[in-house]
Amino acid sequence: MTTAEQAQSVIRTGNQAAAEGARLARVGVVCFFPIGPSDEVGEHLVEMVNRGQLDARVIDLENERSVINAQITATQSGVRSTFSTNSEGLVFAYQPLIWSPYARVPIVVGVAHRSLEPPTNIQTDDHDTIIFRDSHWIQFYCENAQEVLDTMIQAYWIAERHDIQLPVFVTWPGWEVSHAAMPIEVPSQEQVDEFLPPYELLPGRDLLTLDMEEFYSNASRSGGEGASYIEQRYAIDHTLNVVAKQAITEAHERYVEVVGRGYGGLIESYRTEDAEVILVGLANMATRGRQAADAMREQGKRVGVIKVRTLRPFPSEAIAEAVGDARVVMAFDRNPVHTLFHELRSALYSHPGRPAVLGRVVALAGRNFSSRDAEELVDEAFAAIEDPAAVDELSWRMETVAD
């Protein structure tokens, strides 16, 4: 029996898939603090530990800030760990979350998105991790349970590479993905072991054996191996925007080789080759885009879609290549700060034949965003080809048409 044959087809929610991913990555520490809709990931993992399916310690502390500190420490002492949270939890843990990239601690944090408060809500949009855009975290946005599982495993490989050593968010929409069950393929442990080696600390970085005086005076305070603050920041920025881009692509290719499934690497393009209008979205905003593209193509309108898998590093080059000669690029931004719109504008500023870039804020706090809504927005994009001045560059979609 080949290892691929041991892979299993099962029905799983996005949260369960995240837990399966962490289990297959053989995490040694499961961290926990509850917040809906993310807390189930930890609960599934605790169950796996209790049933003897996962050899890990559970660390369950009094708030997310304590938990992330514990995760950082576990990782610094050579143990792979997992934790999932979102929104208020991320905001509460801001201090250690910002610490981790700049201390080069490769933690992986799962996020079933939830809109930020106030007002109090448990709905979903991307804002909770978008606010970490400017902190050198690698950020993956997943569209469905299968992608969550596969990305979780790749995230450890990328984060822990000795030439990366940066933390990674693996995110997926709350409820729509976290609690929606779908058939997924779970790779066998052998496949995952072949892809993902055991976690190995950078030589000299073991918190437990390190000369603590040396560690605090050098690594932590003045910047490691005698480097100064600016050099350190440069190294981190270069690692994120150059080295990590290559690593993410490589991780993807290797995963396809071993497991046989992939999502295009940094971006996943759909019918973009001859497209006049290209829709760009994270996670399941791309699903809506593809539905709209198919419907519009039936009317003879050439529409394509780019799913951006990593907001950081932002795949500017890959996007520019996929955009090609398109006339209009429209972002479906599921956040109130229209990040994708601005990212696309800077990415395409020097693109030959510079397309018009439009931004549409959609589906905030779980507001319905049907494929019919997406089609109406595509109509606006085509109108911009005729007369750019007639169409708002940036607008918010609040009303909705039923599918």
Partner: protein
Amino acid sequence: MTTVEAPRATERRQPVKPKPMQEYIEVFGNLPDEKQGRHFRYCPGCGLGIAQSAIVRAWDRIGLDPEKVVTVGGSGCYAVMGSYLTASQAHMGHGRACAMATAIKMSDPELTVITLQGDGDGMAIGAQHFVHAARRNIDITVVIFNNFVYGETGGQHGPTTPRTTMTQTSPYGMVENEFDIVNMALGAGAGYAARTTVFHAQHMVRAIEGAIRHKGFSVVEILQNCHELWGKRNGMPKATDMLAWYRDNSVTSAQAAKLEPEDVLGKFVIGTWTAPDRPEMSEEWQKLVARVQAGEVEPSKGASSKPPALQ
């Protein structure tokens, strides 16, 4: 430091009014039209309903003007309570109530400021604010609804989950020790701390009344039934099971004082504990500001100034 008070006989004879609800609870008839038909979000039989009525009965006994009361809340099943009451309500992230309440009291010392907090909200993510508010002895009342779990998120264990009991995340029994909220409050500087249960409804009213009347930081821990999430996992699936459990397993502080320590183990000791008065923060600041403005005190001149005599 700690004194133990038995409930006073005169108080016991004085029955609480049956219906102070009209004035203090929005859902009983005096709602604006658009809110009519709204109902409590608690599960049927949840102890939060009993606790809520005890709170407004205490307000009624004191004769508080709802205009002069502010409740401060966080996140949890209990967090909707503030919106059912006619008093003003302030609300922020999970666990932040004591910090907000401190600011409200400092900005208007005339207000009666009461935090409504879950055991998770107050003792886990918000514990830091709780101990510092106690240390400052700011004149606010903290009401903690202790249902032993993070209820709203599905019944996971927290820092008040009794050791060995079952929760969503401790299916083999809680391994860690729990906080003693009353002792923690007194240790941190509270002048008044009470423990009561939703079974002891009249005691609960008096405990809350005493806390609000107390000048300084006061705490009331209300042991509340969450039969839905905690009770069901611990052999008490109905609200009445848990009420009976509180009835059968509680002793008053006066009774406890007469028992051998091992006989008190595993019992809920209900009662009120007070500590000698300490300066209250909002008042101390007001006094200081008045003295500085009157030119009665000079700021420290650095190294040359003499250390103040400790009082």
